[in-house]
Symmetry: C2
Subunit: 179 residues, 2 copies
């Protein structure tokens, strides 16, 4: 449902209709409205799919170290202009809508939990290798690293000149210094 | 202009009119429309004022250590239910609008820069005291800490059960371990 995700980014969540999605996707309206129980379910699924596609779970699960994870964060956010504007706008639209729609919020929260669980495994593996202080809480560290990624993304959207690399460098230095 | 900020949170940025703000504030419409060059300027000023009021610059500048800053982050976000729903909704509305309005984005970016500059001073002071590794980039560390705050806020909005305290604990441990 890339058509729906694009339309959310273009028009705003509230201004997208099931009919417009069907038209953009080149499908009969009936096919779209039959498949989803209303517009909100369609847009929710489209947004979640887009996020999962932007950061594929299998690629994410294949990351070995926190350093690898920081490389991904830096690659996604670091260079101004490399950030996908459709995706960033979709993220902001979805966050705003999630504040109004408890079901969307719950599903976004669940998505976040799945990624956080993968980060916990990365943290644990690094602790076993001695790359990260064993005394650190894996859950707390994973929550922190996830927040760093989205917080930097948010701030880079407001300030395209933000030195994301320097911030990621500070995380690297703190992590290396922890052992 | 607390009336305008409340209306943005209630109705969404796009659905607030200058007239509605005047009514809510109990002012004649002419007084409001005379003072601001249009609705966008009014709402922009209202949003910025609300953010500055939520985290007063003088209180922020009075923070002495990174630990103090982490206490503020934890107090603001840590306990579910203590977060002001008007403020969080206003933040999401404003972030979304900033993606569409370059002037709002620029002003939000400037606000962010002012707070970041204050965090740089806190980091430097802690480095002088030996509470933080002198090798860390003050700018990078300040950018990181700002992102941690807003990233945790974003994630706590999606997942009210998020263990913000554990994440802040991980930052504390990393910082203490850095020296």
């Amino acid at each position: 449902m890339a058509a729906a995700a694009q339309l959310i980014a273009e028009r705003g969540w509230g201004r997208v209709t099931t009919r417009a999605v069907a038209e953009r996707a080149g499908l009969p309206h009936g096919a779209v409205s039959y498949h989803f129980r209303g517009k909100q379910e369609l847009l929710t699924q489209a947004a979640l799919d887009a996020f999962e596609q932007a950061l594929p779970a299998d690629q994410f699960a294949a990351l070995n170290t926190v350093e690898d994870l920081l490389d991904v964060i830096l690659a996604e956010i670091g260079a101004v202009g490399t950030m996908d504007p459709v995706l960033s706008r979709l993220m902001l639209e979805t966050m705003r809508e999630a504040e109004r729609d408890p079901l969307l919020r719950e599903r976004m929260g669940a998505l976040l939990s799945r990624y956080r669980a993968m980060i916990v495994e990365i943290v644990r593996a690094d602790q076993r290798r001695g790359n990260l202080a064993a005394s650190l809480s894996p859950d707390g560290t994973a929550t922190l690293l996830g927040a760093v990624g989205d917080g930097l993304l948010l701030h880079a959207l407001l300030d395209p000149g933000l030195d994301v690399a320097a911030a990621v460098g500070a995380v690297r230095a703190l992590i290396r210094g922890s052992t």
